[in-house]
Amino acid sequence: MSGTWPTQTQRLTLAQLADILVAEGLGMPAASAVGVADGLLDRCLDAAPALAEPLKALLDEAQHSEPDAFVRQLAEHRPDDFTVLSTAVVGAYFLSAQVRRLIGYPGQQPSPLSVAGEPDYLDMLERVYERHPGHQEYP
């Protein structure tokens, strides 16, 4: 899906809806403040392209409604549509480098593991042994 989608109007609509789902609070920014309706939306739709078509339809529909009421009635009565909207918003929100920094999430980074030395659970494993009756053989 390229060309004019999402239009500036659709992005503005999304920003309004997104802030109802992810508002400022607990030291975290609102969705629109980190660009959920801008470049992050494009990355989100690139990774999950099946969201694009239903999201577009929702944004067009939402233009004629009051944002808060629109989002709440989706949540209550149209669970599939609500999932499309909330997945796009939440997915884009957590792509934000600023948000990741604030929640202390470096991403699924490599971090070598070490199998050197004795694990620190051996005393607990001893107790598993002591209390377990042992498996039974069945010929």
Binding site: V22, G25, A47, V90, I103, G104, G107, M124, H132
Partner: protein, 545 residues
């Protein structure tokens, strides 16, 4: 090395290149058999993996969804029907092991004896001891990391690699089990804790189910296909098998497949091995109905497609105050428990469950689970400013007890051909009819209550409980069961079809009961047992005219 030529009869044609097909190809080719494997999907490799990109969590909901109906890749066939649990799978070279979590878990000795011990289902025609050697061999081939000596299991040969550190999540969960006096054990996984054979050491990315970019998770394209191809096996991708044709004496002649352009080919062979998983193989046998086998090939028992088992699954997530590093991998099992795996006279259900501790994933996953758990409190409890509670309370602070239940084999749970829906090659889709039984529901309710206790004993400030997952966990078993009596089984103890002397089935379909263990260790060990026998009894194998 003799590499079979296109169209020329092979010694063996294998349908499916996943867990069982790859074992068969590697061992048969090494023993000098001319092997052709037909795989409907393609190779998947590091270039396709999303694991090392920030978009990884989004990829899971679509491109890397384990649900073929969501993913809709060119190799996926639709799964239709109203089922309480719908199977998930991966269709491509390596099969489910492209996406699996690599939890490596042999069955219990009692799993082979459900009829004798509990008066339900049937005993297997083989015992645990028949799989002891093959379990050890495939564990080496899969570079398994783990600690032997679990007192709940029969004696296992030590795993080739030390266990992966259980991490903060495992320590927290283990302390809870220790307080309650319940069984737990460090997880065994087909993930290399150090560089071993074709695998590199795990880097704890935690995105194992979207392909391991570090080549640390065992998958056939690393562990079995290189040696199979080097020994002369031919792997044909984009080859969707549509039928197993039969000669006038009722022997399989090979496999008819459609290539990517829809052109039909016959791959003739002396022996046919089906390794298309318990859904794909049942579907193919039903597609292969003929005047001689009007109800489907090898189906004189009427059991082809029936007794589908899937390990219905629930989770209990422990949310702790301590920071648990809980997005860090691997996404195998950190620890597991067999405390409730066996029948107990005081409980109102038979057989049992296996539990395993897993990480809790990234922030999107944490938010989704928080919302599901708190949705009943109303919109403002999870959205608006409250949205950030998931990040503050759950993200990084949670671990999950996964609980998989042994579902008993029932005739009504089955795979049939869909009368209307077709795949991209025009073949009927697989329709799934599956209901979760009362025994399984009682079992899961009981276990969830215990897992909440285990979470609390681990210091959880709160728990999030999920109901039975409507899409399965990739365990599909039982649709072509093994047995000595041709009237009530599809294949014999050597996994040869009772009705067709040169047709073998080696995937999870042959399971008589499912146990509660993750099945792949047993699928691969059994495949090895069967092909070893084929190699030894080669001279007496009946072949088509």
């Amino acid at each position: 090395m003799r590499r079979p030529q296109p169209g020329v009869a092979a010694d063996v044609v294998i349908v499916g290149s996943g867990a069982s097909g790859a074992v068969a190809a590697a061992h048969l080719a090494a023993a000098g058999f001319e092997v052709v494997c037909l795989e409907q999907g393609d190779w998947t490799g590091p270039a396709d993996y999303m694991s090392d990109r920030p978009e990884a969590e989004l990829a899971w909901i679509e491109k890397w969804s384990p649900d073929p109906n969501t993913r809709r890749g060119p190799a996926d066939y639709p799964l239709t029907g109203e089922a309480d649990v719908r199977p998930v799978m991966y269709n491509g070279v390596g099969g489910g092991l492209v996406q699996w979590a690599a939890m490596w878990q042999p069955l219990l000795a009692s799993d082979f004896k459900a009829r004798t011990l509990d008066g339900v289902a049937d005993d297997w025609p083989i015992n645990w001891s028949d799989l002891a050697e093959p379990y050890a061999q495939v564990a080496r081939e899969m570079s398994v990391s783990g600690l032997g000596d679990d007192p709940a299991l029969p004696e296992l040969e030590p795993y080739p690699n030390p266990p992966i550190p259980i991490g903060r999540i495992g320590m927290a969960a283990a302390r809870g089990m220790d307080r309650l006096g319940w069984h737990w054990w460090p997880g065994s996984n087909a993930i290399a804790s150090r560089s071993h054979r074709s695998l590199q050491a795990c880097q704890r990315r935690g995105t194992c189910m979207m392909g391991c970019p570090e080549n640390a998770k065992a998958t056939p394209s690393l562990t079995h296909w290189p040696s199979a191809l080097a020994a002369g096996a031919r792997l044909v991708t984009g080859a969707r098998v549509a039928q197993i044709p039969i000669d006038e004496r009722g022997r399989a002649r090979g496999a008819v497949y459609l290539d990517r352009d829809g052109v039909e080919h016959l791959q003739p062979a002396q022996v046919v091995i089906l390794a298309a998983n318990a859904v794909g193989t049942a579907r193919l046998l039903l597609l292969s109905a003929s005047p001689r086998f009007p109800d489907g090939l090898a189906n004189s028992s009427g059991l082809v497609g029936r007794r589908l088992m899937q390990h219905p699954y629930r989770t209990v997530t422990a949310v702790c105050e301590d920071f648990l590093d809980s997005w860090q991998g691997p996404w195998g099992q950190s620890i597991y428990s067999l405390e409730f795996a066996e029948t107990h006279p005081d409980r109102d259900f038979v057989r049992g469950t296996k539990w395993m501790v897993m990480p809790h994933g990234g922030p999107m996953f944490a938010a989704a689970e928080y919302q599901e758990a708190h949705r009943h409190e109303g919109f403002d409890a999870v959205w608006g400013p409250a949205f950030h509670r998931a990040g503050a309370e759950v993200f990084g602070h949670a671990f999950t007890w996964g609980i998989q239940a042994e579902d008993l084999p029932e005739d009504a749970n089955r795979v049939v051909l869909d009368p209307a829906v077709r795949d991209s090659s025009g073949l009927p889709a697989a329709r799934i009819e599956y209901r979760v039984s009362d025994n399984t529901r009682r079992m899961l309710d009981f276990n969830v209550a215990r897992a909440v206790e285990a979470a609390e004993a681990a210091g959880a400030a709160s728990t999030m409980v999920r109901d039975i997952w409507p899409t399965g966990i990739g365990h599909v078993l039982g649709t072509t069961r093994m047995g000595d009596d041709p009237r009530c089984s599809v294949v014999d103890r050597w996994c040869r079809a009772h009705d067709v002397a040169n047709l073998y089935i080696i995937d999870g379909g042959v399971f008589v009961t499912g146990g509660s263990a993750n099945p792949t260790a047993t699928i691969m060990a059994n495949a090895l047992r069967v092909v070893d026998h084929m190699i030894q009894s080669r001279a007496s194998q009946e072949v088509p005219s």
